[in-house]
Amino acid sequence: MLEIKNVSKTFNPGTVNAKTALNGLNLTLNDGDFVTVIGGNGAGKSTMLNAVAGTIQVDTGSIVLDGRDITRLPEFKRAAYLGRVFQDPMMGTAATMQIEENLALADRRGQRRTLKKGITAADREHYIEQLKILDLGLENRMTAKVGLLSGGQRQALTLLMATLQKPELLLLDEHTAALDPKTAAKVLEATQRIVEKNNLTTMMITHNMRDAITYGNRLIMMYDGHVAVDVSGEEKKHLTVEQLLELFSKASGSDEADDKLLLS
């Protein structure tokens, strides 16, 4: 489904602030893979996601999605094939527009927007059904402005919006990091349900080691702009957090593990 070949990206090249975020990154995702991505700060996780989404352009290498070379496509053109949930709950939705309007927007992702009515009665019924999956009571508040919702509700909504039109690839960038534990758990459950139901190829960045192990069929650890560890299937299921930390130390060649990793 996704082939990232030899991708590199340096920010502020040639200056004192130069930072090589991606360094000869190679990664292949198969259809239906649910990959969790972990790594220390500056490892290149978000940069990789942004590169795939098209928010940033890579310096070298190629990105091929379902046989389509999307390396030079602008972000809005790639949006037809991707679903994204950002870390910031404010980013994924339009606060001044209603829930149903946001869903209608997401529903038309990848299609030409015409002068037909923005939301039809049939649309509304469809959205109510979809919102029920989230189990947050949002189906009763379809005309409420999204700005009135809590962070967790907005993230759940963003998740729904990202998957309304079944995307070829779902990108989740630490989407529960800004939520309290209870809401985070709810959102992750919803994620699991939706991904399973639609058999979506998914990449999920997370700082939580336990979540990284629990969810998905494959785990990737990034370090210094490339993939350092790649575990899948049975091996992944039986990983423990301690083992993961050891793997990280070995891969990064340092005994000091990141504070954030330890705190999970």
Binding site: P74, E75, F76, A79, M91, A94, T96, M97, L105, R113
Partner: protein, 305 residues
């Protein structure tokens, strides 16, 4: 005496307010919906007036001339849009650049003259100040209301369509809009085109109303537009929630602004202080909701204590 002459002046103030209201709706589209600060309007207002008056002087039908003014206004908006989205120039600067260029363009359109009259006695004007107090079909209030009703209706429909929703999303959250597959470069430009088309239409009607187009007539227009938008929001924001009503609130804001201006004039104060007093009275209006709130909380607090 004061009130009777104020009442006498009301029709004129309302008519002017409504015509400026069209321009204020244009400003609302860029400032509130698209979240872009567009200063092109200072130039496109005069452009609309210039195009309309020169076409009519050449014998063109007045409604056709108004349509042409609208289209040329859209061109101006397109220039600003392209400068902003394709050349990476910040929106405010792009607007200023276009407005600067429009000064020369307007002079050219007007045949290198800075002022062109259009007499109601010689041409079939759509609106004219001459008839603002008449109880007849020639009264400019009538075409003003009809035009506003039609425009608000069209905009209400347009922003409810898929494309229109895309435009609103662009203004609400540009990153998210992009992530939803909307080409924000195009939607921003379309929004600017729509807005400046309306501003040019307003300029065309105003030029007919006052009987002449002047190359400087747009100077300071953005201030009036923003004042109208904010007055409308502040006074009627809680009451008018429907989008069409929000646009009406903007027009009402423009009318209030012109009524205030009229009041200041009728008060007969030192003429040099016209702008100072206008600003003071507008500031007073805008402070009302804030004071209402604080009075309410004080009262509530005492009751709960």
């Amino acid at each position: 005496m004061f009130f009777s002459s104020l009442l006498n002046a009301a029709p004129g103030a309302i008519a002017q307010g409504m015509l400026w209201g069209i321009m204020a709706i244009g400003v609302y589209i860029t400032y509130r919906i698209l979240d872009v600060a567009d200063l092109t309007v200072d130039g496109s207002l005069a452009t609309g007036g210039a195009v309309c008056i020169m076409l009519m002087r050449a014998g063109c039908n007045p409604w056709l001339a108004l349509l042409c003014a609208f289209l040329v206004g859209m061109l101006a908006g397109m220039v600003t849009g392209l400068l902003h989205t394709r050349c990476g120039i910040p929106a405010i600067l792009a607007g200023i650049l276009t407005q600067l260029a429009l000064y020369s363009v307007n002079l050219r359109i007007m045949g290198s003259k800075s002022n062109q009259p259009i007499s109601v006695d010689k041409y079939n004007l759509v609106v004219s100040q001459r008839f603002v107090k008449e109880l007849s079909l020639r009264n400019p209030l009538i075409p003003a209301i009809v035009t506003l009703a039609v425009l608000i209706g069209i905009l209400y429909w347009f922003f409810g369509t898929e494309y229109g929703s895309g435009l609103r999303a662009t203004g609400a959250n540009r990153r998210m809009a992009s992530a939803q597959g909307i080409d924000t470069r195009v939607t921003v430009t379309v929004g600017l085109m729509l807005s400046n088309g309306l501003v040019a239409l307003s300029g065309a009607l105003l030029a007919q109303y006052q009987g002449a187009v002047d190359v400087n007539m747009g100077r300071g227009a953005i201030v009036i537009g923003l004042a109208a938008v904010i007055i409308g929001e502040v006074l009627l924001g809680k009451v008018f929630r429907n989008f069409a009503l929000k646009l009406c609130a903007v027009v009402i804001g423009a009318v209030i602004y012109y009524m205030v201006l009229q009041i200041v004039l009728q008060l007969g104060l030192n003429t040099n202080d016209l702008k100072l007093f206008t600003a003071a009275i507008v500031a007073l209006f805008l402070s009302i909701p804030c004071w209402k709130d604080s009075v309410r909380t004080k009262k509530g607090g005492v009751r709960n204590a």
